[in-house]
Every structure is written in C-alpha cells, then in structure tokens.
C-alpha cells in the first residue's frame, strides 16, 4: 500500500513536470509570436504614417488645382460656385436599374513590409 502510494506520487510528479515543461515552451513560443506581431504592427503603423503623409502630399490643394486645370477638357472642373447649391427636389428619383459597381480586380499593394517577405 505504501509502495503504491509512493509510486503514484512519483508518476504524478513526472506528469506535472512534463506538463510544466510543455507549458513553458508553449508560452515562450507564444511570446515570440507576439513579439513578431508587435514588430509587424510597428512596421505597418510606420508604413501607414508614410502612406498618410503621401496621401496628404498627393492631395495638396496646389496639385489638385493643377490636375484639374490640366484635365479640364475631360473633367470640366471649376471652383465651387454659390450657384451650385441645389434643392433636394431638383434631383430625380434614382431609377431601379442602377448597375452594381465593378469589382476591383487589381488592387495595388503599397505596404513596404510585404515586399520584404515574398
């Protein structure tokens, strides 16, 4: 009886040790994963801020004005005029057969981090 009890205790200790060992390594793997994710988030945030800066740069009023002037024949864009305010009643009720927007087939991936990992 006593021997059985000791044997069972030894087995329990071994099982617990094995479990703790596995948990330890799993935790470390998860932490490494989290660290990689954090690094990726940081890189993505950085590229997001670069893209935001680029967006602001490309949408600066001077450039938009020049583009509108260059493409006047196609777009016919003029500065906003007071006469352009309208009434809701002036707009026709939309007809039912408005086609769906075409799906985007070739999205442009601009994130720099994607280029590093092919």
């Amino acid at each position: 009886m006593r021997g059985l009890l000791i044997l069972m205790s030894v087995i329990a200790v071994m099982a617990l040790g094995f479990w703790a060992y596995r948990e330890n390594y799993r935790t470390q793997a998860e932490l490494a994963d989290v660290r990689a994710l954090q690094t990726e988030i940081g890189a993505l945030r950085e590229s997001l801020s670069v893209l935001n800066a680029e967006w602001a740069y490309l949408n600066r009023p001077d450039r938009l004005r020049e583009l509108a002037d260059l493409n006047f024949e196609r777009l016919g864009l003029l500065p906003m005029q007071p006469e352009q305010f309208g009434e809701v009643a002036q707009i026709a009720y939309p007809s039912a057969d408005v086609g769906e927007l075409a799906p985007i087939v070739n999205p442009v991936e601009t994130s720099a981090s994607m280029e590093q990992t092919p």
């Binding site: 989290v34 954090q38 801020s49 935001n52 600066r60 001077d62 352009q84």
Partner: protein
C-alpha cells in the same frame, strides 16, 4: 508531566512534628513552580522574537534583492499584455479642423562618416560629391583625410540617395535613423505652422523642435508622450486657406501690391478659419531670417499678426458704435461735416467734400473723417480709450502663435484731443489685421468680446459685453449700407449679403510724415450681414489699381474686389447656402423674452 504537590504530606508531617510552620514549605514549593513557569515563558518569548526577527530579515532581504534586480535589469517592453500604444513618432501630427494633415513625420536617414574606418577616403569623397551636387569634393577629401574622427555629411537623405551611398560601399560611411518633419502642403498656412529643426542630435536619433508658429507654441505638447499620439487640431480649414491664398495672390498681382494679408475668423467662437500672409515661404525649407533691413520685408513676417498698421477708416466703426451705444447719437442724428475741420493748428480733410452736414449713418457710408471726428468729440478721449482697450486693441493678440507677442499695437505717447480725433478715423493707432478682425467680430456678433484662437473649439465664446445687442444690430445694418451704396460697392456678393467698412491709410515714412503714393488698403467685412458668421479682413500693402485713366489706391478699388472674390469662392466651401436677404426692418427686430 509529573506534578509536584505544593504540600507534600511527608514533609508536612515532619515539620509538624518539629513544630515548624508547614506554610513555609508550601510557599517554597510555590516559588519553585513559578520559577519553572517563568523560565518556560521566557524561552517561548525569545523563540517568538527570533522568528519575528528572522521574518523581518527575510522580508528586508526580499525587498532589497528585488530592488537590486529592478535596478540592474534592462528595460523591456511588456510582451504578453495587449498593447494599445499607437505612438509612432516622437512628435504629434498637426491637422486642420476636418482632420486633414498639415504637418506629419517621415522616417528618413542621416549620413555621417567615420574617416578612420574608411578604405578609400578620396574616392568616396568624389563619389559623394556626384550623388550630392551641393557638396564640395575638395572639402570632403580634406575632412576625410584629416584628423577628424566623426563628421555629419547630410542631415536628411532620400531612400534613393541612401541606396547610391550604399553602392559606394565604404565602411566609413554610416547612416543614422531620423524622424523628419514634413509639411505636405508646402507653403500653405506656412506662417501659422512656422517650422521645425533638429535639436540635440545623436547617431541613433535626433530631437525635432519647433522653431516658429504653432510648432513652437505647442512644442512641449506635441512632444508629450502622455497624449498618446493624438494630433493637434487647429481651427484652420485647409481648402478655405488654399482658396484664400490663391485669390489673395492673384489680387496682389492684379493690384501691383507689395504684399497682402487676409484673416477669416468665426464671429462666435473666435476661431481663425484661415490666415494668409503673402509673400510666404515653404516651412520644409524655412529660410533664414533677414540680418539687415526691415524684418517686415522677409517672407517669414506674418503680416496678419506681426504687422501693425494704421488701418484707416475701418476704425470709424468703433467711434460710431460707441457713440450710439452711449446714446449720444442715433443713426439719424445730423452731424456737421464742413471741410476742412480746424483743430488748433491742425486741419482735417475728407476725401471728397460731403457738404455741411450728414446723418451719422451717411458718415459711415460715405466715410467722412470730419463727421467721425465730430462724433467722437461728443464721446471724449477717456471713454474712447476705455472702449478701444476693452476691444483688446491696446495689447498684442492672445492668439497661440509665438509671433503674436511681437505684434504689439503702437499707441500715441500722449492721448491728446487731437489723437482722439485722428484715432477715430484710424490714424495714430497701429494694430494688426487680426486685432481688427477680432474687434469687428466682437461688435457684430451681438456685442460680446471674442479672443482669436488658432485651436478648434466647439462652443461659442461668451466674453464680456462691449456694446449692447441693439447697437450691434444697428451697426450691422449701417455697414451693410456701405456695401449696398457706399465706398465698398464693388464688394457685394449676391446671396451672401456682405457688409463691411473700407479703410485707406497713407503709409508713414520711417523719417516721419506720410507718403503721398503709398497706402495700406483694408476691407473689414462680415457675412451674412443679418446673421454674421464670419469676419474677413483683407489688407493690401501699397496697392495700385491702374485700369482707369489715373492710378487708384483707395480700398474700394483694391481690397474690396479682392475680398468679394474671396467671399464668392469660400462661402460655398464654408457650407453657406446663398440666401435672399431679409427686409431691412427684420434685421433690426430683436427677440423679446
């Protein structure tokens, strides 16, 4: 435990036989028993003290050990806890009132050299000079082969340039990461934003500090990590600002002016929606301040805030508003306007002769200096001073720009009766266009003081009352007539009911006296006149309009058409729908409660 009896029978009997007192034995035994008990207690107490002492020692050791560990470990980011930090840059962005970026950061690199580690210093110097045309190959060669151990070559380089430097392949050429301040809109709102520069520099990072404008005013706020990367939101509207700068630039060219400024301010909140000063500069490459000559000739000079000018007839509004508010005159009171008005040795003239007398409203509409001087002489110098002071015209504007403190109004040394007369029509007291915009807002918004601010605010300012609501309504109606049939008739914009007052002031010579052919032309306007939303002040420096037979310099021919075009372009951008003006009586009707 064997208990010793207190009165052992054998000894008691023996004692009795000897005739001794048996109580002595009991006493003796009791004493012995107590001694044993005392020894036991003492041992136990000592044991407890020992345990307690050990516990203290252990806890002190634990605390000390933990402190040592904390002091000696490298700081590490907590990795297991979910992070909510969104700070990506050491300096927060600046955005406009709709969240569009005015200033942000870019990651770039600085290039430095350690000549001791270089393999081919001469070749590297020549190749560097090819990549960066502004570098001198000879000077670089001298630096690389000299005794220097370290030198900066470029503060900011582009990724393409970095690649080219990489291709030189010299181990002595090294890169340090840098955060660079970027103003994506170029010269837009440059005077408000100011500029930034590198502060303390190390190899791995450099401090970015603001050098002017809001960048300097809010420098510590922008660099405070406690804000969690939240941007600084200004009251400016990017598209309105761009439109105003475009129209003002065209107006300056058309009117052959030296420079110009426009300030658009919300009459209720005091928010500066747009502030343009031309000529301007690009804050990405902020020019050096002028070392000689007048600082006002530099493009860095913010005419709207730093430029103090005699703003001419635009000041007549203050004299008339005060006289009406005090009940001294009504819009229909007739005042003498016989030209010239003689005051001691001094003669006051009008631009035209307006006859012997005019009602007060016509004095404003026709802009009579003499009429205004006669009105203010009823008010008196002391009350005039107090009123102008209450409008904030005696101290620099409280706007949150570092340059504001330098825009100090120029007051007469002694406020004589003559000063009182000339200041009533805007000569002898110099203020910035922003002062004027804030004072006009205070009078036309219903009569409560507003302080101009560059930060977005959601609720209207409730300032001290400067004039009554009735006076405010009267002045609005009177100034509307200036545009309908007075000196600013070119300023009408259909649908927006513009009202305002023109002002043309001769420029003072630095040597004393005034120029004959150089003026500051100002138009202070607000719209819509029956329910003002915005005040726009346009000031042109030395404008000349040459389409007629003789050059015209008055504000009515220069600033007013420019203002009208600005309002026509920005009112739709501000979301104001053109409306039919209500009948005149309605503008004077006040809500009764």
């Amino acid at each position: 435990m064997i208990r010793t009896p207190l009165r052992p029978l054998a000894r008691i009997l023996q004692a009795r036989e000897k005739g001794e007192n048996p109580d002595v034995i009991e006493k003796e035994n009791r004493r012995q028993r107590h001694e044993v008990m005392r020894d036991g207690d003492r041992a136990r107490a000592e044991g407890r003290l020992l345990v307690l002492g050990l516990a203290f020692v252990a806890s002190f050791c634990a605390v000390g050990f933990r402190m040592g560990v904390l002091a000696s470990t490298e700081p590490a980011e907590p990795r297991s806890a979910p992070t909510s930090a969104v700070i990506t840059a050491q300096r927060a962005d600046i955005v406009d009132r709709k969240g569009r970026i005015l200033a942000t950061n870019l990651v770039t690199h600085a290039l430095y050299a350690q000549p001791k580690q270089m393999i081919d210093p001469a070749g590297a110097a020549e190749k560097l000079a090819l990549i960066f045309p502004d570098l001198d190959a000879e000077k670089l060669k001298k630096d690389f082969t000299g005794a220097k151990k370290f030198l900066w070559i470029k503060r900011k380089i582009s990724p393409e340039q970095m690649q080219l430097v990489h291709e030189i392949g010299d181990p002595g050429l090294l890169f340090g990461p840098r955060e660079m301040r970027l103003y994506p809109n170029g010269a837009l709102a440059s005077h408000v934003l100011g500029g930034s520069a590198f502060g303390r520099e190390g190899v791995d990072s450099a401090e970015v500090i603001g050098t002017a404008g809001v960048e300097k005013t809010f420098d510590s706020w922008l660099r405070d990590p406690a804000n969690g990367g939240a941007p600084l939101q200004l009251s400016l509207d990017l598209s309105v600002q761009a439109t105003i700068e475009e129209v003002l630039d065209g107006g300056i060219k058309l009117m052959n002016a030296k420079g110009g400024t426009a300030v658009l301010i919300d009459v209720h909140t005091g928010e500066v929606v747009a502030m343009a000063s031309l000529p301007d500069f690009d804050p990405n490459t902020r020019p050096q301040p002028l070392l000689k000559g007048s600082p006002s000739d530099s493009p860095l000079f913010n005419r709207a805030v730093q430029g103090v000018y005699e703003l001419g007839s635009t000041f007549k509004l203050f004299a008339v508003a005060q006289a009406i508010d005090l009940g001294l005159v009504t819009p229909d009171t007739v005042v003498p306007t016989k030209s010239p008005m003689v005051w001691g040795k001094f003669r006051i003239h009008d631009f035209h002769n307006y006859g012997a007398e005019l009602p007060v409203s016509e004095v404003i509409v026709k802009s009579s200096n003499i009429g205004t001087a006669n009105i203010i002489s009823k008010v008196g110098a002391e009350r005039q001073q107090a009123f102008l002071k209450s409008l904030g015209l005696f101290v620099p504007t409280p706007i949150e720009l570092v340059e504001a403190a330098t825009g100090k109004p120029l007051l007469p040394k002694k406020w004589s009766d003559l000063s009182m007369l000339t200041i009533s029509y805007g000569h002898g007291l110099s203020d910035s266009p922003l002062h004027l915009a804030a004072a006009y807002s205070s009078i036309v918004n219903g009569g409560t003081l507003v302080h101009p601010t560059i930060l977005k605010s959601d609720k209207p300012q409730v300032g001290a009352r400067v004039v009554s609501a009735e006076t405010s309504a009267t002045m609005r109606a009177m100034l509307r007539q200036v545009v309908v049939r007075g000196t600013a008739s070119l300023g009408d914009v259909p649908g927006y009911s513009v009202a305002g007052k023109t002002g043309t002031a001769d420029k003072p010579k630095p040597t004393g006296g005034y120029y004959d052919d150089k003026v500051i032309a100002t138009f202070a306007s607000f719209f819509p006149s029956y329910d003002p939303k915005y005040v726009l002040v346009v000031t042109l420096d030395e404008p000349v309009e040459t389409s007629g037979t003789e050059p015209r310099r008055t504000a009515g021919w220069t600033s007013v058409p420019v203002s009208a075009e600005i309002i026509r372009r920005i009112a739709p951008l501000l979301g104001l729908r053109p409306e039919v003006e209500p009948a005149t009586e309605a503008t004077l009707k006040l809500a009764k409660n």
